[in-house]
């Protein structure tokens, strides 16, 4: 056991007492990263990380992020560090500016040690479509199971114990689903709470900066540093930043939790159901009021198509800037159209191209009403339903996924209820822009299972309160493949 594996509070105490230094932590994280075999890392930024860690000599007692090494998903703009979003069309692109969150973490004296891989351009949920191919689940030494995506590298790097924190992005469930598969805390706050400036967009109306930690406390501390109005992102909220860790240990008695019955009913995994039901009993013991609600099967079955239409439509437009002219490989051509055509044909994988065609088709004049606008109307209806449930509850609670991480070569039936409903519902939090956190529930055959709480807009403090309570119940704080635990559920 190394300092890196401690809880954030214990690690911070060790740093403050100078038992360990940021430089030692950074070197250890870099060493682990180099030895890691999960295919998680696009590139290390060793030199800068060490240089910065060396400057951190006077511990900041009130700053729990001080001196902590971390990874950023490779779709965050990092000045001077090549950033490709794991797409060939951005090979060699070295941004000239830092994403706001990267700057904020630097200001908080966190040490970025490198960039993690992802599904190409953050589109995809398998962790298999980026530069590195498959990213493995650190809980499976045989490398048969996925870790999920699109933030696969960030999930794997935290779960493998390389770093206590990693930045990711979440458009449908790209942090919160891998968090479930990797036994991590995956947090996506309210839309607008964290600036997206410098996050390579996938679908801005659904995109969120999100992140992985191994305990709820660090998740709350990190939000304190990441939140806030940014003059470069006019969608960022002007609401004052709160101390999101203020209520971590508050009594949850009387809080109301709505369990989405349709989702639970669609799940066939007995281990998951048993643990989930046990968690309900334990929450009740803490004084939490649990009630079941029906979301409506028809509406839940519509999530996937609605998500695909909206996200692909926005994506095809966002990625129209990728043409090989201003940045990215210049492939030449006899006309400007050929220059763009060559760059885009070579630069995008076939999956990405298919998604762009889908999105573009949905936006065409003669299709827009029946596809794009219909999906946007359905989004409004879905959001109305979520808000109706939250009128009578503080949180919506459900298993984060229908089971453990899938096999790389496992055929998933994309039209089964279990797939359509239980595997896709986390996008509710993106449709409604609500804060949503995934937490480890327990294990099945050594692979993690997770749950998810979703709260009301800008009520992150309360969400961390229930999350911390849940973490105490599960006993699964500070989990990693190097620090395995059984848990209480």
């Amino acid at each position: 056991m190394n300092y890196l594996d401690l809880s954030i509070d214990a690690l911070h105490e060790a740093l403050v007492k100078k038992e360990v230094t940021p430089l030692e932590l950074t070197l250890e994280a870099l060493k682990r990263a180099k030895e890691d075999n999960n295919n998680a890392i696009e590139r290390l930024d060793e030199e800068n990380a060490i240089a910065f860690a060396k400057t951190l000599t006077e511990p900041e007692v009130d700053n729990p992020l001080w001196g902590i090494p971390y990874f950023a998903k490779d779709n965050f703009s990092t000045k001077g560090v090549e950033t490709t979003a794991s797409s060939n069309i951005l090979n060699g692109y070295v941004p000239i500016y830092d994403a706001t969150v990267v700057k904020k973490l630097k200001d908080a004296k966190m040490v970025m040690i490198g960039k993690t891989t992802l599904d190409e351009l953050a589109m995809g949920g398998t962790g298999t479509t980026g530069h590195l191919g498959k990213t493995y689940n650190p809980y499976d030494e045989k490398h048969l199971h996925m870790v999920g995506g699109s933030s696969c590298g960030s999930a794997a790097s935290v779960a493998a114990g390389l770093v206590p924190f990693a930045l990711g992005s979440d458009t449908g469930d790209s942090v919160r689903k891998p968090a479930s598969y990797a036994g991590l805390v995956g947090m996506k706050p309210t839309w607008g709470r964290i600036s997206r400036y410098g996050l390579f967009p996938f679908a801005p109306s659904l995109d969120h900066v999100a992140y992985f930690t191994r305990d709820v406390s660090l998740s709350a501390y990190a939000l304190n540093a990441l939140s806030g109005r940014d003059e470069n992102d006019s969608t960022s909220s002007t609401r004052p930043v709160e101390d999101y860790a203020a209520d971590l240990h508050k009594d949850v008695k009387g809080m109301r939790v709505a369990v989405l019955k349709d989702i639970v009913d669609s799940i066939t995994n007995k281990v998951l159901l048993k643990k989930f039901n046990k968690s309900l009993e334990e929450l009740k013991k803490k004084g939490v009021e649990i009630h079941e609600v029906e979301f409506g099967k028809e509406l839940l079955e519509s999530l996937y198509a609605t998500y695909i239409v909206i996200s692909c439509a926005e994506a095809t437009s966002n990625d129209a800037n990728l043409d090989g002219i201003k940045f990215g490989p210049y492939e030449g051509g006899n006309t400007y159209q050929e220059v763009m055509f060559n760059a885009r044909t070579k630069g995008f994988s076939e999956l990405i191209k298919r998604r762009f065609v889908i999105g573009s088709y949905c936006l065409m004049r003669e299709n827009q009403e029946e596809l794009f606008l219909r999906a946007q109307r359905n989004r409004a209806k879905i959001v109305a339903k979520i808000n109706e449930i939250l009128d009578n509850a503080d949180f919506i609670y459900a298993p984060a996924a229908p089971g453990v991480a899938g096999l790389f070569d496992g055929a998933s039936d994309k039209l089964s209820d279990e797939y359509l409903i239980a595997d896709n519902h986390l996008c509710l939090g993106n449709f409604a822009g609500l804060p949503s956190i995934t937490l480890p529930l327990g294990f099945e055959d050594g692979l993690p299972l997770g749950v998810n709480f979703m709260g009301k807009a800008f009520e992150e403090r309360k969400l961390f309160n229930i999350a911390k309570t849940f973490e105490d119940i599960s006993g699964l704080a500070d989990l990693s493949a190097l620090n395995k635990k059984e848990g209480n559920l």
Binding site: G92, Y93, V94, I96, W191, G192, S205, S234, T235, T238, E298, E301, S302, A305, T306, I308, V309, T316, I325, K326, G328, P329, Y330, G332, T335, Q337, E338, V339, M340, F341, R344, T345, E350, K353, R354, F356, V357, I358, S360, Y361, M364, E366, N367, E370, L371, F372, L373, R374, Q376, R377, R379, A380, K381, V383, K414, N430, F431, A432, G433, L434
Partner: protein, 98 residues
């Protein structure tokens, strides 16, 4: 809605300035069959037309406008350093015919 044929898909890809392999068009065609069926089902959801198309997840109307103050522009080297074809401090393309 436009009927989906392989030609429609190829034309759509072409307008997005890329091409795909033949098998991919077939995969795409199959994906479209599923998607349009599901979107058709969504069209049958009762009361859907009562909802206005949603872009923003909740009311986030603001009164903020940026003050019109110019900031230091990027150094020209930074503007151009990622471009693959540069001449005389400008990005160069084959002649654009009007």
């Amino acid at each position: 809605m436009k009927t989906i044929t392989m030609d429609v898909l190829k034309d759509a890809a072409n307008r997005l300035l890329f091409t795909m392999s033949e098998e991919e068009y077939q995969t795409l065609y199959d994906e479209f069959q599923i998607l349009t069926k599901q979107m058709g089902n969504i069209g049958k959801i009762e009361g859907l037309e009562d909802f206005a198309p949603m872009t923003f997840p909740f009311d986030c109307t603001t009164d903020f406008l940026r003050e019109d103050e110019a900031k230091e522009p990027l150094p020209r080297e930074e503007v151009l350093e990622n471009a693959g074809n540069v001449q005389d401090n400008e990005i160069k393309l084959p002649k654009v015919v009007l």
